[in-house]
Symmetry: C2
Subunit: 470 residues, 2 copies
């Protein structure tokens, strides 16, 4: 017995795929992913129409998806993040139905509850055996964690594993087990290694970024949370990494033993693990080669599913126990609402990912952002799109001062006592506007191109088309 | 946020347990388990009635369950195995409704499909954190794998983790994740270490057992399956271990690199792993301390869920890829049907466990049994109870010869060519009867006390009460 089928075409036929069904993809191969495109090309060639694509994230490499949208092969899109090339086309109105944006926690919750059932899941697997046990830790296309693929594998009606490194049975160190897999397809390559992971994650050298990072580290230090058992998540952006660097120095100097580092994991978090800042790393996605090597070789670096990471539909998720998360923003308004879906012109170039999940869970959710970018203010009266509700955001750190959510008076007092440059967020807004001028109010189109769903399924906001570009 | 509750009583109240519901237990603490008894004692004290208990196995230590049955606290029992003390009482008719016997593969299949829904699962956890991440690998009550508990945790409406080793969050090396756990209760002790695992597994010294083991190893050697990639399961019985010992010698001598050892794992299988006979051990239950140490420390020794092990309801299970399994029998008949539920008098003293799952999956399912025990023949015309259908059993090895299922002519030819003492099974039956005399046909009661359900849910047999003992 073997689940190997000779071709992707045959596997698609075996799944019983029909027009109108939902297929799903995960994004651990990031901008190096070949699998979504190769599956969609085959599906288009077979003449399918009116499919829903549920992808945990979409990158510029997935530009061919636009052609399948134009041809009505794909008529509905569900995702947690979409980078600029696709985002721009969606904002221009290429699709009739609005894109449904979820979060990295809301997506698995909706899949497992049946609110967004998946008919066929396609799992890009850097290593698999002929029965479908598979892992991201090994092979030429190794990506480390397969965290976002678990819900798809566990709940889709049919599951196809696509691999470029077929090993003999059993793959002992499986992430997703054969229990869930229907078919296995061997292909030459599932991705471009250079696009899957970056060589190293880089700390910012920009003085503005370093100034913000230094203040951010001081906010954490004086928050009351930085003590033994401390837990932390940060992204892969330059200022976030610089904050982690400053934080690492403080933790080592003061002998603070943290409990866990969480999230998408970079080599910098691996360094913190190895330096003794954390007991363990809990990893839903590896951002670079150091993280991939570490999750493979270090038993204290553990793979987690997206549900375990952040799903509100579970009995608990790790974000519920998180102390501090550092997050970015394209805009933040005076009510601390954050936009990470669009730029200031309203054009889609991102998505929540785990942004609103971690903000909701963490005891301290901190936004690091400069006052302005590309001559547009970051701090505004109203964000163009609410990605993360202001009620879950605690602090904004800019290069000109720190604003604390008024609901967090105790935290504000702590930071003021520590002598940090705490300002009212309206003051920061005015400073931003002085730098850039008050931006001209941009006209908004009247056609919804995306709906933003909060992690609990409630409706947060609607993104409209960008006029003149249809 | 924490899921810790102050007492078991409080946890039971929080689950919303009501009369008539189903509660479940797993059996990794074996005859050292305190958890089932402590939960049932509390439930009885709280006045609940008419509960269904779904326990993966029941041991003599669970004798207090009989009192709860007599008092109608428990009115329905679902299990895969029941040792003598409870079995004898059930055979005497202590319970009104027949016990439902399933298999270790059928049980998780029925739980996950909803055929046997569980309202509240109680997980005996040798180590847990306050959010419910838990493991069997650590702590004073370490039992190793928690394989049988996964289906309960993943599908029960409420899940209570009971631990005597609470560690700080997060327990990085969890087996069952907090995603599934509602409440955590800390108690002094979940079990008696001496009953949880034996010190060492012992190879038989009995000459009859050794003779059978030597022949069994030769059957495997000449089956055509003993080559690179070979996979193997055996139990903890003396003759089975002796077979493994002979097999190990052959594999090392001939340089055969097996792929995996499967099942309940003993120190002897760990020795085979470490000697290079297998690439990996796939472990649903640890039988002894060596296995517990190995699953904790050796990344090639992996925990598997009961579903991954053997569930027919999954896309595949590991048993589907198994080459050889060695199994026992209390009786085997001329059609190769095997009884492991009752002794020859019809009294319950066992259960299928993984017997019929592995027999169905393995390419070669071998029964090792002496011709007679306690002056009763093992080979009979009709087994008292069909636990495993003869169509899935390939070979019987006794001390007086080897019988091959007539459906396996190619295998028979191989063994005859190798000069092994192959006999017709009728011949073995006659030899058995010469040793013991033809046993008096025992009268059968007319009240069903247990129903045997095959792994696919179909009805295999009914066990009736043993008359005169009601």
């Amino acid at each position: 017995m073997s689940k190997l089928v000779a071709s992707l075409k045959e596997a698609i036929a075996l799944t019983g795929l029909r027009d109108g069904m939902t297929i799903s993809f995960h994004h651990h191969l990031r901008n190096g992913d070949y699998v979504l495109n190769m599956v969609m090309e085959q599906i288009a060639a077979l003449g399918y129409k009116d499919l829903t694509v549920n992808a945990s994230s979409l990158f510029d490499v997935h530009e061919p998806l636009l052609e399948h949208i134009r041809n009505h092969v794909v008529t509905r899109l569900q995702t947690d993040y979409m980078s600029g090339v696709l985002g721009s086309a969606i904002s221009s109105g290429v699709m009739e139905k609005p894109v449904e944006f979820r979060t990295h926690g809301g997506r698995p919750a909706d899949i497992q509850s049946g609110r967004t059932p998946v008919d066929v899941a396609f799992i890009a697997a850097p290593t698999a055996d002929p029965m479908g046990n598979c892992s991201g830790k090994y092979g030429k296309s190794a990506c480390g964690s397969l965290g976002y693929a678990f819900a798809d594998a566990m709940h889709a009606k049919k599951v196809v594993v696509i691999t470029d490194n077929l090993v003999s049975y059993p793959l002992a160190d499986w992430s997703i087990s054969e229990s869930y897999v229907d078919y296995v397809v061997q292909v030459d390559s599932i991705g471009n290694a250079a696009g899957i992971v970056s060589g190293t994650t880089k700390i910012t050298r920009d003085p503005v970024g370093l100034a913000m990072a230094a203040d951010a580290a001081q906010v954490i230090r004086h928050s009351g949370l930085l003590k033994d058992g401390f837990s932390f998540q940060t992204g892969a952006g330059g200022a976030s990494l610089a904050t982690a660097k400053f934080l690492k120095s403080i933790m080592l100097r003061e002998g603070i033993k943290g409990s866990f580092g969480l999230g998408g994991i970079t080599g910098y978090m691996v360094e913190m693990l190895n330096a003794g800042c954390f007991e363990t790393l809990l990893d839903v996605q590896c951002f670079d080669l150091d993280a991939v090597t570490s999750i493979r070789d270090n038993p204290r670096h553990r793979e987690i599913s997206a549900a375990h990471y952040a799903a509100p539909g579970c009995r608990s998720a790790i974000v519920d126990s998180l102390d501090v998360v550092i997050l970015g923003a394209t805009e933040i308004d005076v009510d601390f609402n954050v936009n990470v879906h669009t730029d200031s012109t309203g054009r889609i170039m991102g998505g929540s990912g785990g942004h609103s999940d971690t903000a909701a869970g963490a005891k301290l959710a901190m936004i690091i952002a400069p006052l302005s970018r590309a001559r547009l203010p970051i701090v505004t009266d109203h964000v163009t799109c609410v990605s993360t509700p202001g009620s879950t955001v605690d602090v904004l750190v800019t290069q000109k001062g720190i604003a604390v959510n008024p609901a967090r008076k105790e935290l504000r007092d702590r930071l003021v006592s520590a002598g940090l440059p705490v300002r009212d967020i309206h003051e920061l807004k005015e400073m931003a506007e002085k730098l850039t001028g008050i931006p001209r109010k941009l006209p908004r189109g009247d056609r919804p191109v995306a709906e933003i769903l909060y992690r609990d399924g409630s409706h947060l906001d609607t993104i409209y088309n960008v006029p003149g570009s249809l």
